[in-house]
Point group: C2
């Protein structure tokens, strides 16, 4: 017992999976399951049990051999590691279709990321309320960020305006950016940037559909031996 300050550097791949475990565990908690094994958790998530154990082991040794993990305790530990013990307000840049969709959809707030502000450059958008939040001018960004102690910014502008939005966010003191705009943005070292492009996901599916079509054509000529799908356990 050398104290709780463990030398942990959680691999990025594991960090990306922790929210999934958290979700599954929360579902189980709601279903009044108090204890769960890595095998069960793996089955729920459609992944390998050893992977689950290794992932969880980065948090510390919170399981009990022969028994499994205490659901509630594990939820708390994952939340603590992910920094989800308190809400993080976010500010959205861009009040067009995408920005309205994101803030109107209440999912952010429900999951601990309430919308603390929306800004835009267009005068005819400013002043309108979206999802209970009034749209303000992008020049007020720094003030919004500071008054609510916001560190996460969401870019929901058209592609060409994304870099400018990113620059504004950085200037306002934001340290993490979630970019929904169809453009690659650059940010100074030390700023976390993640990109989500809904169309990209569809294009990846399109690729697999395309292959399926090609495979069907080829079948008339020659039997196809191996074909690995991406589906989870049936």
């Amino acid at each position: 017992m050398a104290g709780q300050r463990t030398r942990r550097r959680i691999p990025e791949a594991t960090v990306a999976r922790l929210p999934v475990y958290l979700q599954l565990l929360s579902d189980q908690f709601d279903a009044e399951v108090t204890n769960i094994s890595s095998e069960q958790l793996a089955a729920l998530g459609g992944v390998n049990a050893a992977k689950v154990r290794k992932d969880l082991s980065y948090l510390g040794s919170y399981g009990t051999r022969g028994v499994g993990y205490d659901v509630e305790f594990l939820i708390f530990q994952i939340k603590r590691e992910l920094g989800l013990t308190h809400d993080w307000h976010v500010v959205i840049v861009g009040a067009g279709n995408l920005g309205q969709a994101l803030s109107g959809y209440g999912g952010f707030g429900e999951r601990g990321f309430p919308v603390g502000g929306i800004v835009d450059v267009s005068p005819d958008k400013i002043g309108r309320a979206i999802g209970g939040v009034r749209v303000r001018h992008v020049d007020e960004l720094a003030q919004i960020v500071q008054s609510r102690d916001i560190s996460i910014g969401v870019i929901a502008t058209p592609g060409p305006a994304a870099q400018e939005a990113a620059d504004s966010l950085v200037a306002a003191g934001i340290t993490s950016i979630l970019n929904f705009a169809p453009a690659i943005i650059s940010a100074p070292h030390g700023i976390s940037v993640r990109k989500v492009d809904l169309a990209v996901e569809l294009q990846i599916l399109s690729y697999h559909e395309q292959r399926r079509v090609n495979a069907r054509k080829a079948t008339t000529l020659k039997a196809v031996p191996g074909q690995r799908g991406r589906g989870a356990s049936a």
Copy 2:
């Protein structure tokens, strides 16, 4: 020259990057750039040039040594590989906040994935028009799918209803699913499933924010040596 039927099995990581290249190339094409080197493309995307070349080499040898790649031709080749030579209609299951947001946001149609139908189970949602498409009952799914030859389904239901939605989609003949619901779904072998959870992305950012805060605390005790950010080239 043994013909165009190359033995290609494109790595998943590469498939996920092809849409990004496509985007960058399209931007360049609009800017009337006709030729581009892997180095330039890499700079635009914030990635390694060797990676770009290796990725593109999976499509075939479409570059010219000493010169680079023809932008327009490369766009066509990527589109062909991704199956983007024609539109893919999609059907959305769930007309709640998320479903409305997704279909109201016109980004799908703009990028070659027009919304071919929206279904829900709730009688008070059916009949309403969202983004120009009328909401129909989930029982009509098979008919919608067949009439428009749709193979991609989008799940935009609440978490608990996601699996049922997936089952309905599969029963209706869908072969690819994009799941926006906060739940892990399982599908039969051969069905492609991708999951996008907006909250998960924020949680990953939250983790890095959390670490930043912890690092700041630790600074008062001991200097922090290494600290790798995720930002692109400044």
